[in-house]
């Protein structure tokens, strides 16, 4: 199974542990990738709100690169995925796509409209299959209670990101269960992490961050897992500040989806970049993964 790999800006910037852990999991999952080194940022919704044509041009450029390779795109970020999907939808219009292609002509690129986009989370369920994922588990996460946190862009608008009603907003729970852990149910799982307004209204952003983590913790979560590195920037990177704003202790480690996979596949903490976490998962993992040096 081969994909054109689009890691996104944050995996190559503020969340190096995400990039590392994806690389570590690709082999066991049987995924081959060709990384799209020349692809630009999707615009993360910020470009779309300001200049939709510009955002769609950058995304069409990425789709054209994948199309040239004859490969579907693999993403590892909820926000990249949702933003690409929105452009992808608009680019289905032949006349609009032709106009956008004029902006790509200088570079000798053309998007014909055939590229497919898959987040890693979708690939696990829809392409690899959960039974196969379970068969790869060497260190079952038995006893761990894990709260899923999706990130808005990968669950809404549902008619855009789940057009075939596959219940993609339940995939994290299914993955968690197939790795041997228990999924924690709580209302915050599909809510906003606060990141998009973190520079506009920091107090509200941190309240959102804190509220979601607190709810997960109150429902018994040992850990949270997210398929979105932007959510991770707030849930992990700003958890200490969020705890202060909502006036209670949190201390809930936040794992990226491939880190959770990697732990269950028996990979080492180094390979999964666990040292990069602000809220260290060390204590929780030591407690539950007996014998695992974390």
């Amino acid at each position: 199974m081969k994909f054109a790999y689009y890691p996104g800006c944050v995996a190559k910037g503020g969340a190096p542990e995400l990039y590392k852990s994806v690389n570590a999991c690709l082999g066991p999952l049987g995924i081959e990738v060709e990384e799209l080194h020349g692809a630009a940022c999707t615009g993360a919704g910020v470009l779309t709100e300001r200049n939709p044509e510009l955002a769609d041009t950058l995304n069409a450029r990425t789709f054209a690169m994948a199309e040239r390779l004859g490969l579907p795109i693999l993403t590892i970020c909820s926000t990249c995925t949702g933003t690409m999907y929105a452009s992808h939808e608009r680019l289905k219009d032949d006349a609009y796509r032709a106009r956008i292609n004029e902006h790509l002509a200088d570079e000798g690129l053309e998007y014909r409209g055939t590229t497919e986009i898959y987040h890693l989370m979708w690939i696990l369920v829809e392409k690899i299959g959960l039974d196969k994922v379970r068969s790869l588990v060497k260190r079952p996460l038995n006893g761990l209670r894990i709260a899923p946190f999706y990130g808005c862009y990968i669950v809404r608008p549902s008619r855009l990101v789940d057009p075939e009603h596959q219940k993609r907003d339940t995939y994290l729970e299914q993955i968690i269960a197939h790795l041997g852990a228990d999924a924690v149910d709580y209302s915050g799982k599909t809510k906003c992490c606060g990141f998009p307004i973190t520079t506009m209204n920091r107090r509200n952003a941190l309240k959102l961050t804190g509220r979601n983590i607190a709810e997960a913790k109150d429902q018994g979560a040992d850990l949270m897992v997210t398929p979105c590195p932007l959510c991770h920037l707030n849930l992990d990177g700003q958890q200490i500040d969020a705890a202060r704003v909502i006036g209670r202790s949190l201390d809930v480690p936040i794992l990226h989806l491939p880190q959770l996979l990697g732990l269950a596949f028996g990979l080492s903490p180094e390979e999964l970049g666990l040292r990069h976490h602000i809220v260290t998962p060390r204590t929780v993992l030591q407690k539950f993964l007996a014998g695992a040096a974390v």
Binding site: G13, E49, C192
Partner: protein, 317 residues
């Protein structure tokens, strides 16, 4: 079809806190949640309070949370949310005070709608006959005019959960409706006011209102369009505009986001920047701040695209 309704009930005159009550009813396969609730009230428990009128998703009276999602009870088919023998969870709309059971107080909702001056403010003396607007312009505005003020978007807005002062999706969609109306001449005043705190820049872009709106008004998209219009009108002394400019500039420069640069350029000044020092230091110590920011291969092509399509960002430099 047999369905169980698990209803969140609360009577402030009798109950200390909300409680759950279950009712099982036999309904037709095509029945809506509202049909079942009315049946409960008429045949099982007349004390159940709910608000409804048209039963045809026109009046907007019966917005509530159904299986944790805002929507109109009269538009939601039981077959889709519960099925035969299933259970559907029914709660009052969120982010508004509960009067009793499924009835919420809409005063705070309409206060916010009123706060955006929801009426046409044309310039100059009125024309002899009617104001002329093009079909194209009115087609554009029509999407937001479809709003029936039901409050489903407000119910599920993630920002309102943490900040009741946020104007919220319904009022902001209403504001957009007038800004986008070619007959209205108060755009400057409106966009200026909306750029202040509790306005357009406080939306988290979570799509919740887009997801739940029973009339496909897409409030969030209206809010994003208001941001674009406000920036174009020159209301740029706010962190939202600074963030947008910084974001655009770093992608124009290198093809990809430079988080550190965006964070620094998005703040209003040194004081605010210092408030970020804890996060910055912790991230640095954990190897999360890249020491250099390399442009993508072919970044010059991206820059050309920006130069062609994004003149505004260049002017802001």
């Amino acid at each position: 079809m047999k369905v169980t309704l698990r209803v969140k009930r609360y009577d402030p005159e009798r109950d200390r806190s909300p409680r759950w009550q279950e009712y099982t009813v036999e309904v037709e396969d095509y029945a809506t949640v509202l049909d079942a609730l009315i049946k409960v009230r008429e045949e099982i428990d007349e004390s159940l309070a709910l608000r409804c009128s048209c039963r045809s998703h026109i009046c907007g009276s019966c917005a509530m949370r159904i299986n944790q999602k805002g929507g109109l009870a009269c538009k939601t088919k039981l077959a889709e949310v519960a099925g035969d023998g299933g259970t559907v969870v029914v709660e009052p709309a969120g982010n508004l005070p509960v009067v009793k059971d499924l009835v919420v107080d809409l005063v705070p909702f309409f206060d916010k709608v009123r706060a955006v001056d929801p009426y046409l403010q044309p310039a100059g003396p009125p024309p002899e006959r009617e104001y002329i607007a093009s079909n194209e312009d009115m087609e554009n505005v029509k999407g937001a005019m479809a709003c029936i003020l039901c409050g489903a978007c407000v119910s599920d807005c993630t920002v309102l959960e943490v900040d009741p002062d946020f104007l919220g999706p319904a009022a902001l969609a209403k504001a957009w409706r007038f800004v986008a109306d070619p007959r209205d001449a108060a755009d400057e005043e409106r966009l200026g006011a909306l750029s202040e705190r509790n306005g357009i820049w406080d939306c988290t872009h979570c799509f919740m209102c887009v997801e739940v709106c029973p009339k496909d008004v897409k409030p969030m998209e209206r809010i994003l369009d208001l941001r674009r219009r406000a920036m174009e009108a020159g209301f740029k002394n706010n962190n939202g505009s600074r963030h947008s400019d910084a974001f655009v500039e770093t992608i124009r420069e290198s093809g990809r986001l430079d988080e550190t640069k965006v964070a620094i350029r998005s703040t209003s000044g040194l004081g605010e920047l210092l408030s970020w020092s804890g996060v910055g230091l912790r991230s640095f110590l954990h190897g999360k701040v890249p020491l250099s920011h390399k442009p993508i291969p072919g970044a010059e092509h991206v820059r050309k695209i920006f130069d062609k399509l994004e003149t505004k960002a260049g002017e802001a430099q």
